[in-house]
């Protein structure tokens, strides 16, 4: 007789459910298969035939696992307000903003649209807070908070007419940054990491949430780099310039964000981890 529980656990593979619900499902399905097999043996079948008959109850375990993940998950469909108001509004404002960026028109309106999109995104998140899954609560939402906070702060620095601090080597500007902006970054790093910690996010999620502006900037720069080489051809100075941009817009801001995030990177107590699954 097979170990039905082990068999179900192996065949179902990874189902996206809290550990206790997952165990519940495995136990229930295993008992069902056991009973099918027992019933077959009671009607005169041999052990192996009874086991084979029980296994015929499921043709595709992967499909079953996906159906169970969906139906046993406590996540509810999107709120009507989010579907009919927040998301369409975000899409419209974002599209208008994008058109203005491409046309290189109305810089002030572009900035206003950016802030409005951020505000609407938070409205949507607040509306959906009860329905958000663990990853969204512990990673995406905190990361967005940090990113929008840092972006807003940079925008305000630029709008207020502040001049960037420029480091020169000889006649060449090498790194430029806004001191006041850098000074605000620890606050946003702390906010992202704290939100992630509060949602019982693992340390990796807290670091990613706290450093999201730098990580997003790094990704964007790495994506743009090949296009630069493709258009202008490869030059050593381009690579040096890219490295300096990395220092000014990724490494130094990351350090500032990390200073803020650091107090919230301590590993959670085991009870906290368990509570995350309730």
């Amino acid at each position: 007789m097979p170990d039905w529980k082990q068999l179900v656990r192996e065949r179902l593979g990874r189902i996206h459910l809290p550990a206790d619900t997952q165990e519940d499902v495995i136990a229930e399905l295993a008992l069902h298969l056991e009973e099918v097999s027992e019933s077959a043996r009671a009607s005169g079948l041999g052990d192996s035939a009874a086991t084979a008959l029980a296994l015929k109850e499921v043709q595709n375990w992967r499909v079953l696992a996906s159906q169970i993940s969906r139906t046993r998950s406590k996540e509810k469909p999107m709120n009507r307000l989010t579907k009919t108001l927040w998301l369409p509004a975000i899409a419209i404002l974002f599209a208008i903003g994008l058109i203005l960026v491409f046309l290189d028109r109305a810089a002030l309106v572009q900035r206003f649209l950016f802030v409005a999109c951020a505000a609407l995104l938070f409205c949507a998140a607040a509306t959906e807070a009860r329905h958000l899954n663990q990853r969204t609560r512990s990673l995406w939402l905190p990361a967005l908070t940090t990113f929008f906070g840092a972006s807003l702060s940079l925008m305000l620095c630029q709008l207020s007419g502040m001049r960037p601090h420029i480091l020169w080597v000889g006649e060449h500007a090498v790194v430029w940054f806004y001191w006041p902006w850098l000074l605000t970054l620890p606050i946003f790093g702390a906010a992202g990491a704290r939100l992630s910690q509060r949602a019982h996010g693992p340390v990796v999620a807290r670091v990613a949430a706290g450093l999201s502006p730098s990580l997003i900037m790094l990704t964007a720069m790495l994506l743009i780099l090949p296009f630069g080489f493709a258009i202008d051809g490869f030059h050593f100075f381009q690579l040096v310039g890219f490295g300096l941009l990395l220092i000014g817009w990724v490494a130094i801001p990351a350090l500032a964000l990390l200073i803020g995030a650091a107090p919230f990177l301590r590993r959670s107590e085991p009870s906290d981890e368990a509570a995350a699954h309730i």
Partner: protein, 118 residues
């Protein structure tokens, strides 16, 4: 004649709808656990409706999510732990319109093609 995707979808919806009605009707009589539900549906419909593990539990969990049924671990007569499902108040409210829907469906088919459900 080949079975089109549309035909498959219609069949699937009919099977799903009939499954819901069968489960709600059974649980209206008494709380049952998964294997018993499948067994009784098979026996009482003469094998016309047959549930396997793969078709039963996603439907049961879906109905539980909608609040029509509630599952709870209990010890059965043989002294073994089983997850028993019972009908909730919401589930009871669903049963009457669902029965009516199926009655109308069969009447419509009967008048069209002479297919009687009796």
């Amino acid at each position: 004649m080949p079975v089109t995707n549309m035909t498959k979808r219609i069949r699937s919806k009919i099977a799903r709808g009939s499954g819901e009605l069968a489960i709600l009707s059974l649980l209206a009589e008494q709380p049952l656990y998964g294997f018993e539900i499948a067994k009784q549906i098979g026996e009482r419909t003469g094998g016309a409706l047959k549930f396997t593990l793969a078709s039963l539990y996603p439907l049961l969990y879906e109905m539980e999510k909608r609040g029509w049924v509630e599952g709870r671990w209990q010890v059965n007569q043989a002294g073994r732990d089983r997850r028993y499902y019972r009908l909730t108040a919401t589930g009871k409210k669903q049963l009457t319109p669902l029965k009516q829907e199926w009655r109308s469906f069969f009447q419509a088919l009967d008048s069209l093609a002479g297919v009687s459900h009796a």
